[in-house]
Symmetry: C2
Subunit: 344 residues, 2 copies
Amino acid sequence: MTNPIKNDLLLRALRGELVERPPVWMMRQAGRYLPDFRALRTTHSFFERCRTPELAAEITVMPVRQIGVDAAILFSDILVVPLAMGMEVEMHEGRGPLLPQPVRTVADFERIRVPDVCEELRYVTDAIAASRDLLRSDVPLIGFAGAPWTLLCYMVEGHGAKSFDLAREWCAREPGLAHRLLRMITDTTIAYLRAQADAGVDCVQIFDSWAGLLGPSDFRIFAQPYLIEITQALRDHVPVILFARGAWHALPDLAASGAHALGLDWNIESSFARAHAGPCVTLQSNFDPAHLFAPLPEIERRTRAMIDAFGVQRYIVNLGHGILPTTPVDHARAFVDCVKIFQS
Amino acid sequence: MTNPIKNDLLLRALRGELVERPPVWMMRQAGRYLPDFRALRTTHSFFERCRTPELAAEITVMPVRQIGVDAAILFSDILVVPLAMGMEVEMHEGRGPLLPQPVRTVADFERIRVPDVCEELRYVTDAIAASRDLLRSDVPLIGFAGAPWTLLCYMVEGHGAKSFDLAREWCAREPGLAHRLLRMITDTTIAYLRAQADAGVDCVQIFDSWAGLLGPSDFRIFAQPYLIEITQALRDHVPVILFARGAWHALPDLAASGAHALGLDWNIESSFARAHAGPCVTLQSNFDPAHLFAPLPEIERRTRAMIDAFGVQRYIVNLGHGILPTTPVDHARAFVDCVKIFQS
């Protein structure tokens, strides 16, 4: 981190410093809605793209150059962690991930381990270095990992699912094994995010995409303690954004976790979020990705209304979840442009 | 409705009258976790079961006789409404519904209509009559329909989905068409639920299973007005239970709708629910179906804790969503038994 970052809006917003306008980036911004990304997909498989630092870096930088977002997020996948832990992970385009040997019995634990992440996930830290080279300190680079609960969902269910019933049933039947698995994922994730910070990411986001499948008491048992542990272990190294999708009930606890920012899904209104998260944490949110299909003037009207509601300070503009693959590129650009000319 | 109902706990809870213990039933209680239901499935297709009044009645009564719930809910499906409106609906066991010609363009509206429900859905009212015969006034019979928003999801997307992105994109692009479709579904649903009431159901539940996919402002545009209109049109004929899954932010508005009860998913804690719904509406909720996989003493402990938290009066014990197909029958029975011996 030799050169200062030219556009440091995101980092200032995360530190709670004054900004002239809120920064904007989009979850899954380096993804399928970009024609150049789709072109790469025809020649390189998913893990080839993740594991080839030059390719990952090229994809990482695409939305900065083509859409003009205020931050890059590393192109990778949350499932590189189960992969490094010893699980087989297959990616099938259009059908999502498959983990053919899920973890369910005591015997299944013999196949997984807390890995040496510097060794097993060197391709990620190499991709970070390559991305930094391409970014030339123009904007910050965001690292990320899946939250333990969300990774457990895939590792136990064995594939994506609407409500991960198998994983949730398993936690009810085998809470001891669930905590054993969450412990291993947490230890791996702390080492992994520290390695990302050492390699030069400017902040990290933790994705608990399936937090909303847990009721409040289960969230406090199976998700929250591990999220807080990871946050505590990282926050003095690098700013932390926690995104616990669907866990609207946990905002006060997550705000007290030491995270620099909380990501919000589009079910949470600004007044509720600020009232429950308090004034001392940055909020990142929460444009409904489906609204990017509205006519351009409507996108601009809604974006301005969202910033008016959340306020310019301690706020990061984002979507409430990943951008949808069929989003028109000019609509994504209109969303970003509208933030960049925002005047309160 | 000649004979008084012997076990009228559910109806008393809906009217806000004093009960000695809360009533209990389970969403999807007449379903795949019951061996006798699975046996019927091998010999009769889905719509054959729905459309043969004797079969539907036999399935409706199964959980009353085998599990001992305090109410029967008619065996049917929310997709009989799109079917009656002129759409093709295929049910594929294990893969969910398929509507091969979804509604997306103005031209698609030529294929659908507000039907004469007394004619098109006579098999449902016949199934209600047959169920009443078998129930012999032992417990109340619950009728139901899908909410307009939830039916729109299937009619536009064409199949089940994790987040119904196509349907949500369509609403952003074509709000005028969306309201035209919601209008037609609403008119059909009001006539349909009135026909159910005339045929003798003792109360009705409206399932807005996908309400949680809408942010609060979209919920107020695409879901809530139609839910309230249906409730207002029905409430003087028959008690109404509104279940808008995931719409935790709308509890105050839904409580003011005139519905007799609000169904809650397992993300909502009792204190939040009562504070936001107020004291004048019955709450129905919200045991996590995954918790039925816990050991029996744990199921009993959690069930008692839930009733302690919600209170005995103005409360109906249920799951937070449908019972899972692999639930052990004795676990479902333990849940029900625990409510029946509850003493505060």
